[in-house]
Symmetry: C2
Subunit: 334 residues, 2 copies
């Protein structure tokens, strides 16, 4: 580990470790002259204080944890970017954990964070839920903020987007583009996020005199290979003329499937999806998206976490909703 410690540095200067420690933290108890001597020698010897000793003594880690389903995801990588930048400004370190949508893994990460390894947690929960006890347990001990995803039966500080409204608007948009038979590719249906998106879809249909038929809602279709064939079967069988996808990973397979089935987007099937694809405009056809402010969600969540650290945040149970941006492109053209 680190080479030189504060005692060696102190003896080099004929000072006590206490004085050196205080000098380095610019304490008023130390003379300017001594401070200068200490600083110089510290730089000369490349002294770096041992963070574990420091954390042990202070009972704080200057570290936060970010728990996400996946890093390699347009939304989460952007959110993490935002989080890291805020943490950097606050001189904190960022630990990353991937759950791969597993509740068990998530539970294991969370409970192990109770050791004091981090001062706070930013989490976007896994969709496959085992137990939920650990959320409560952790948030009782250390500040915690949900971002993007959350459970409606868990209290906490939550940064989300306008999932209901955006799904409603997107459905409305499909209807206005002439769709009569709109399919919904569900995901995250164990989470508030997914439920709201579905409810927005259902209500928009209802408000337009239509009913959401169960056979038009595709569920249990996560990110793996059977997914595409399930979608192919759905499109071939149900012949929807519009699709609202609740995650990017389900929308892009539609493009491939339409090629296979010789269907034209948007003539035969219009597609709109939640997505943070930065180049949706370059797709063929360009893809209409519900774009979530991923970066801002990250910065906002992190900012609030730091406010919780400094007790400048008092509401333990609040949901802050940021606006998504619906961008209409060729894939939903009338």
């Amino acid at each position: 580990m680190g080479e030189i410690n504060i005692k060696q540095l102190a003896s080099e200067l004929n000072l006590s470790a206490a004085t050196v420690s205080r000098a380095l933290r610019d304490s008023h108890e130390i003379s300017a002259e001594t401070k200068a001597r200490v600083m110089e020698m510290a730089k000369k010897l490349n002294y770096e204080p041992n963070p574990f000793a420091s954390s042990l003594r202070h009972q704080k880690s200057n570290t936060i944890a970010v728990i996400v389903p996946e890093v390699a995801n347009n939304f989460f990588s952007l959110a993490i970017k935002g989080i890291e930048e805020v943490a950097r400004a606050k001189d904190h370190h960022v630990l990353i954990y991937q759950t791969h949508e597993s509740g068990e893994l998530e539970s294991s990460f969370m409970t192990r964070l109770l050791s004091g390894r981090v001062d706070g947690v930013l989490i976007s929960p896994a969709s496959h839920v085992a137990s939920k006890d650990y959320f409560q347990k952790v948030s009782e001990k250390i500040p915690m903020v949900f971002f993007d995803r959350d459970h409606d039966d868990i209290e906490g500080v939550k940064i989300t987007t306008d999932d209901y409204e955006s799904a409603y608007s997107a459905t409305q948009h499909l209807l206005e583009a002439g769709c009569k038979r709109i399919g919904f590719l569900a995901a995250l249906d164990t989470l508030t996020t997914g439920k709201k998106r579905m409810q927005g879809y259902i209500d928009a249909l209802k408000d337009n005199g239509l009913t959401a038929e169960p056979e038009l809602i595709v569920t249990q279709c996560e990110n793996n290979e059977p997914c595409r064939s399930k979608i192919r079967y759905f499109i071939a069988r149900q012949k929807p003329d519009g699709i609202l996808s609740s995650i990017e990973e389900l929308a892009l397979p539609c493009y491939y499937v339409c090629k296979e089935l010789n269907l034209n987007i948007p003539k035969d099937l219009k597609v709109i999806t939640y997505s943070n694809l930065s180049h949706a405009e370059l797709l063929n056809p360009s893809l209409s998206t519900i774009n979530q402010p991923a970066f801002e969600i990250g910065t906002e969540a992190a900012t609030i976490l730091f406010k919780m650290f400094s007790k400048r945040w008092y509401d333990p149970n609040i949901t802050i909703s940021l606006k998504s941006n619906i961008i209409k492109r060729e894939s939903t053209q009338a």
Copy 2:
């Protein structure tokens, strides 16, 4: 921080802290009966050992650092995914740092890691270089692996891809598709990575009886807004009929620019680029890519780092090159 510590746990059991510690680590010095009692009570009281005390004592952190230019990037997020998975399997924690291509930031991160905060470092260096001393300084103290990017004048363990060969092949591919005037969008030219890509381009031209004309090489064009206008000017002025881009971020602007200039890809201009875009196939036209095995680079780099930890790796100066995959699509069709 953590609520209960080992002393309280011990007193609860009428044992000494030492015994509890040993029991938890399954030491042979402790009777099976006692171990069981300890385990049970530890679970009951949700005991989590304080990692800082443990790290302080052991002089190891069970943590690795990943330093990258950006997290929100198709390549790096995939690499990080791979790294995290390997670290998970080894029960290590992963700290993330973004340099935003700044050498100063990178330097600051690196030198502060000398405190012992991490047992090893995985780094993909920033393109804007300040000094390079810190690479040497860090790698002398703790295991360090370069991935994807590196400096040719710095020794070390490096996981890269076949940059020279892939650039050569891509250029060859453009030539075979009929290009006579191939532009090169340079990036990372301070790094071995970028230099090799350019050399591959130059040599491929030379081997085909052509010379790389300076006005066909666009440099100093990083990821920001002036970038697109620079590319627009380049295409309008130099009228290349083929472009090899050394990073994804420079290739996609070509698509936008060609729309603006009413140029047809691939008829008027063929484009191929280094990229980890997962849906290059869906672009209009579908984009020919040099696909780097980002995930594998991540896992390979991490695996080697762990071998260095356990002294099962002896070569301090070696470059391991993984093969990139050139995927020819519509954007380079003859």
